[in-house]
């Protein structure tokens, strides 16, 4: 009997503290290889505590390591945060429909992340930057609450140093030690300077952030069909049968988590859906 609800135990080979409430763990796939697509997620299980869906944040070309950046917001993520190098985590996955990497080929690409939303978008950003010639103009926007909340700061500095991509970072609040932009991420959008008719936008962050980003991307002339967002709901099974992640007629776990804005537009206007 096939049992897809069984996790595969994997050992933590590295743990990095990212911000006050986020951390990254790197796991070793037992047979040395784990393939996934940008935007997909895994179910991570902590022995005796429970399971949570966590997006994959690593490089698609690095199959020997599985990277997850996690925010400590609940019982299971808290337990994940207390694990050390050498400890075991149960993994099921990868699950879900990820970012439209194939569709984005040959086009201008806007990648916009808000807060922890950089974690699910990072594999897409790396894929685009590592295969830069396959894309038109590349623009990355990243917004966070404060400078201390920025994920992967060293890597982001490297992205910003590239001359073949426009990478802008902004924070909502800052003191004088911060020399970068202060203001909401939507204020960066008007500087995208992509060709709206051939732009694919991938937006990842809280729903409210994606909602505002879409308003500003629409002002540039980018159609809802070309704006992709990653949705989030409670998830228990990740295979479309526990019913928790329903979002109208879709199961976020298998029909998403990535949707075009056109697919979810009417649902964004319904409260508590």
């Amino acid at each position: 009997m096939p049992l897809p609800m069984l996790p595969v135990p994997m050992r933590i080979r590295r743990r990095v503290k990212e911000t006050a409430d986020t951390f990254t763990i790197e796991l070793e796939p037992p047979d040395g290889t784990f393939a996934f697509e940008p935007g997909q997620f895994n179910m991570l299980y902590v022995f005796g505590v429970g399971e949570v869906p966590i997006s994959i944040s690593g490089d698609v070309s690095r199959r020997d390591v599985l990277v997850h950046t996690i925010r400590d917001v609940g019982t299971v993520t808290h337990a994940l945060g207390r694990l050390k190098k050498g400890d075991w985590v149960g993994v099921r996955g990868p699950y879900g429909r990820g970012w439209p990497m194939k569709i984005a080929k040959g086009r201008d690409v806007i990648l916009a992340a808000g807060g922890i939303g950089l974690a699910p978008l990072r594999p897409a950003i790396r894929e685009v930057l590592d295969n830069r010639d396959d894309y038109g103009r590349v623009v990355v926007f990243y917004g966070a609450r404060t400078p201390g909340d920025l994920l992967y700061p060293k890597e982001v500095v490297k992205w910003r140093a590239r001359l073949d991509a426009k990478v802008s970072v902004t924070v909502d609040r800052a003191d004088r030690t911060w020399h970068g932009n202060v203001g909401v991420i939507t204020q960066l959008v008007s500087a995208a300077r992509t060709d709206a008719s051939r732009t694919v936008a991938m937006v990842c962050g809280p729903e409210i952030m994606m909602h505002y980003m879409r308003i500003h991307l629409a002002k540039l002339g980018i159609a809802d069909e070309a704006i992709y967002v990653s949705m989030e709901r409670n998830m228990k099974c990740a295979i479309g049968r526990c019913g928790h992640c329903q979002y109208g007629g879709d199961f976020i776990c298998k029909d998403g988590p990535v949707f075009t804005f056109a697919e979810v537009e009417s649902r964004f206007r319904i409260r508590s859906l």
Partner: protein
């Protein structure tokens, strides 16, 4: 390197798009090019709002002092306008604007623009309408900032 006249620079800016050439010509007459070194204040809260600026290069920080902390609430950069307090009385600045990275800006004589708005309502309407658009955008941005979107 070809130097552009102020009128040419303004004509190319989104703010002045579709504005009558004579209006652009006029407001150019109220403007000059200014430079500010990093660390200096372009605007100081409480001072008369005699000028406002269109940043061409460099970065600034709109700052508020809260207790013993200085907080940046906005960081205008290239292409953005700085300063709105000049429009209506008492025409005094409300915030400090510090130069974070050397700024080259077009500086407008506020009194000159104000007078023209009063004397020529058509000109005033176009200026006010465009300013209103920016103020609405700022208000929207401030509201989003207020809701702590990334929490």
């Amino acid at each position: 390197m070809k130097t552009h006249s102020i009128a040419e620079i303004l004509s190319a800016h989104e703010f002045f798009s579709d504005m009558k050439p004579e209006h652009i010509e006029f407001i150019s007459g109220c403007a000059k090019v200014s430079h500010f070194a990093s660390g200096k204040f372009m605007i100081l809260a409480g001072e008369p709002a005699d000028n406002f600026y269109l940043i061409r290069s460099g970065h600034t920080a709109v700052e508020i002092e809260i207790g013993n902390q200085v907080r940046t609430i906005h960081s205008p950069g290239p292409g953005e306008f700085v300063g709105w307090s000049w429009i209506l009385p008492p025409a005094r600045w409300r915030y400090d604007v510090r130069v974070v990275e050397d700024v080259s800006a077009i500086s407008f004589d506020a009194e000159c623009v104000r007078k023209k708005c009063e004397a020529d309502f058509e000109f005033g309407y176009h200026i006010y309408r465009r300013i209103l658009k920016i103020v609405i955008e700022r208000l929207m941005a401030t509201r989003i900032q207020m809701i702590d979107m990334y929490a």
